[in-house]
C-alpha cells in the first residue's frame, strides 16, 4: 500500500471505532494519569541541576525571556506533533513514522527511538547517583564525609554500577505492570515532587540574604539579547528539559483515549515542566547566595554534577535544618530521574512490542541491554560525558525529524484531523503549522551547526575531528554516521509489518 493510502487510513480508523482500538487495560485510566505520567517524563534532573546553572550563567532575566519564547516556539508545538503521532498510529516512533509519514521514513523513527534509548543507557546511571545520594543523605554519610571526597570515591566505582542496576530494577518493575503501573506511580511521585520542590524553594527564599539570588536570577541585561548564544542556550534548555521531540511523549500517547485532548494537555505539560524549572532555579540560587555568596561564580560555573553532588551537600550542611532539606532535595531529584527513566524504558519496550515481541519479554530485553550498555557510563564519568554530548545534540535532529515528518503528513491535515479533533479543549490556529513547518526546522539546523561550530572554534581541525576525543565534533559525527548508516540499511526491515497490516 502506498504511503498516501496509509496516511488516509490511520486517523480515520480510530474515529470510526469510536476511537478505542486499545483495550481499557492498555489505556491511561484518566486524563490526569496521562498528564502526570507525561509530566514525569518531562521533569527530570535537567530541570533541577541544569536550568539554574544555565539561567545564572547566561544573563539571568534576559535568558528567561528567550526561554519563555522557545517554550512556545519549540517545546509545545513539538509536543502536539508527538501526541498526534502516537494517538493516530498507536505505535512507537519507528512504526509511527512508517505508518504516518511513509515506509521510506521508518529510519527517522528509528533515529528518534535509538537516540532516546542511547540516552537511557547513561540516564539510568544518573538515576542511580540520585538514589545513592538520597541514601547517603538519609544515613548522614553526606554530612560526615566531605562532599568532594564522597563524589570522587563514588563516581565511576563499582558502587555506581550497583546503583545503576538498582535504578534500572526500579524502572523495570514499574513498566512491568504496563501503562497502569506507570500511571499509578506517576500519580504518587509527581504531585509529591511538586510539593518537595515548592517546599525547598520556600525554604530557600526565606533564608537571610536570599534576595541576592533572586536579583541575580531575574535582573535583565537587555544588551545580552543581542548575543545569539543566549538564544541558543534558551532553545537548548527547552529542548532538553521539556523532552519535546524525544519520542517519549509519542510512546505515552499510544495509550491515550481516542477522544482525549491534545492541545491543552501539551500547553499544560510545557508550562508545568517550566514551572518546576523556575522553582528549581529560585531554590538553588537563593541557597547559593544565602549560604555562600563569596563562591557564587565558582558554584554556578561548576558542571551539573559538580553543582548537585558537591556544592549542594556543602550548602545544605551550612543551612539551619540542612540535613532534613538535603533529604528532600535528593528525594525530589530521585523522583524526577526515575519518572523520566520509566518513560525511556517504555519507549524501548514499545518499539520491540511493535515488532511482535511479548511486552514483558521485550521489557526484560530492554532492561538487560540498558544494564549492559549503561555499564561503561557507570564505570567512567568521561564515557558518560561523551554519550551525553553525542546524543544530547542528537535530540535536536530528533526534533527536526518530527517537524519534517509532520510536514510530509500534511501540517494542516494533522492540525484539523488530530490536534483539533473531537475532544480537543482548545482549537489550534494556523500559527502552529508555520511554527512546525518553518520555525522548528530552522531552529534545529541552527542549533546543531552552532553546537558543532562552537566546539570547533579555537581548536586545531585534527583535534576537532578526532573521534577519540570525548567532546569533539568528530566523535559526534562518527557515532551519528554509524547509527544513520545502520538505520538506512535496515529501513525496509524497520518498516516491515506496516504494509501487511495496512
Amino acid at each position: 500500500m502506498c504511503g498516501r493510502c496509509v496516511r488516509s487510513r490511520l486517523p480515520r480508523a480510530d474515529q470510526e471505532q469510536g476511537g478505542d482500538s486499545l483495550k481499557s487495560s492498555e489505556q491511561f485510566g484518566s486524563r490526569w494519569g496521562l498528564v502526570l505520567a507525561t509530566l514525569g517524563m518531562a521533569v527530570g534532573t535537567g530541570n533541577i541541576w541544569r536550568f539554574p546553572r544555565v539561567a545564572a550563567t547566561n544573563g539571568g532575566g534576559s535568558f528567561l525571556v528567550a526561554w519563555v519564547v522557545f517554550l512556545l516556539l519549540w517545546s509545545v508545538p513539538l509536543m502536539m506533533v508527538e501526541f498526534s503521532f502516537g494517538k493516530s498510529a498507536r505505535r512507537g516512533p519507528v512504526r509511527a513514522f512508517a505508518d504516518l509519514v511513509s515506509r521510506r521514513s521508518a529510519w527517522m523513527g528509528g533515529w528518534v527511538a535509538l537516540c532516546a534509548i542511547c540516552i537511557m543507557f547513561y540516564y539510568s546511571v544518573v538515576a542511580g547517583w540520585c538514589l545513592r545520594y538520597l541514601y547517603a543523605s538519609l544515613t548522614g554519610e553526606l554530612t560526615r564525609t566531605p562532599s568532594s571526597a564522597f563524589w570522587d570515591g563514588y563516581a565511576g566505582s563499582w558502587t555506581a554500577l550497583g546503583t545503576h542496576f538498582i535504578a534500572l530494577g526500579l524502572g523495570v518493575s514499574v513498566v512491568w505492570f504496563g501503562v497502569k503501573g506507570i500511571e499509578r506511580v506517576a500519580k504518587v511521585l509527581i504531585p509529591t515532587l511538586f510539593l518537595l520542590v515548592i517546599a525547598l524553594a520556600v525554604r530557600a527564599v526565606t533564608l537571610p540574604g536570599a534576595s541576592a539570588g533572586l536579583e541575580f536570577l531575574f535582573t535583565p541585561h537587555w544588551g545580552d539579547l543581542a548575543n545569539p548564544g543566549i538564544w541558543i542556550q534558551a532553545l537548548t534548555q527547552n529542548a532538553w528539559d521539556t523532552g519535546a521531540g524525544w519520542g517519549l511523549i509519542l510512546s505515552y500517547a499510544v495509550y491515550m483515549k481516542a477522544r482525549e485532548d491534545v492541545p491543552l494537555n501539551s500547553f499544560l505539560i510545557g508550562f508545568g515542566n517550566n514551572s518546576v524549572s523556575l522553582l528549581a532555579g529560585i531554590m538553588v540560587l537563593c541557597t547559593v547566595f544565602a549560604i555562600n555568596p563569596g563562591a557564587q561564580s565558582q558554584i554556578v560555573g561548576a558542571t551539573n554534577e559538580g553543582l548537585t553532588f558537591i556544592w549542594m551537600p556543602r550548602l545544605f550542611e551550612a543551612m539551619p535544618g540542612g540535613p532534613f532539606f538535603m533529604v528532600l532535595f535528593f528525594l525530589a531529584l530521585a523522583f524526577a530521574a526515575l519518572t523520566s527513566l520509566i518513560s525511556m524504558l517504555e519507549l524501548g519496550t514499545r518499539v520491540l512490542v511493535d515488532r511482535g515481541a511479548p511486552r514483558r519479554r521485550a521489557l526484560l530485553w530492554v532492561g538487560a541491554a540498558a544494564l549492559l550498555l549503561g555499564a561503561p557510563s557507570a564505570l567512567s564519568t568521561a564515557f558518560l560525558g561523551n554519550q551525553d554530548w553525542v546524543w544530547g545534540v542528537g535530540l535536536m535532529l530528533s526534533g527536526l525529524f518530527f517537524a519534517l515528518g509532520a510536514r510530509r503528513f500534511g501540517l494542516d491535515r494533522l492540525r484539523r484531523e488530530v490536534i483539533n479533533a473531537p475532544g480537543a479543549d482548545l482549537q489550534i490556529g494556523r500559527w502552529w503549522s508555520f511554527v512546525i513547518g518553518v520555525v522548528v526546522p530552522v531552529e534545529a539546523v541552527v542549533l546543531i551547526l552552532w553546537w558543532l561550530v562552537k566546539e570547533a572554534a579555537g581548536n586545531r581541525l585534527a583535534d576537532v575531528l578526532n573521534p577519540l576525543k570525548p567532546f569533539s565534533t568528530g566523535t559526534v559525527l562518527l557515532q551519528w554516521a554509524v547509527l544513520l548508516v545502520a538505520l538506512l540499511a535496515a529501513n525496509r526491515w524497520l518498516a516491515g509489518g506496516a504494509e501487511e497490516e495496512a
Binding site: W32, F218, T219, P220, D261, G272
Partner: protein, 48 residues
C-alpha cells in the same frame, strides 16, 4: 532587589506559574464538563 529584577520576576513567574494554574483550571473544568456530558465536542475557543 532592584526594580527591574522585581518586574522581571513578576512577569516571568506570573506567565509561567500563572499560565500553568490557568491551564490546569481550564483542564479541570473541561474534564468535569466532559464527565457530566455537557460539553460541545468542538468548543469555539481561540488559540492561546
Amino acid at each position: 532587589m532592584n526594580m527591574s529584577a522585581v518586574v522581571m520576576m513578576i512577569v516571568v513567574c506570573g506567565l509561567i506559574w500563572g499560565g500553568f494554574v490557568v491551564l490546569l483550571t481550564r483542564a479541570v473544568r473541561q474534564e468535569g464538563a466532559k464527565q457530566n456530558g455537557r460539553i460541545d465536542e468542538h468548543p469555539p475557543h481561540p488559540s492561546p
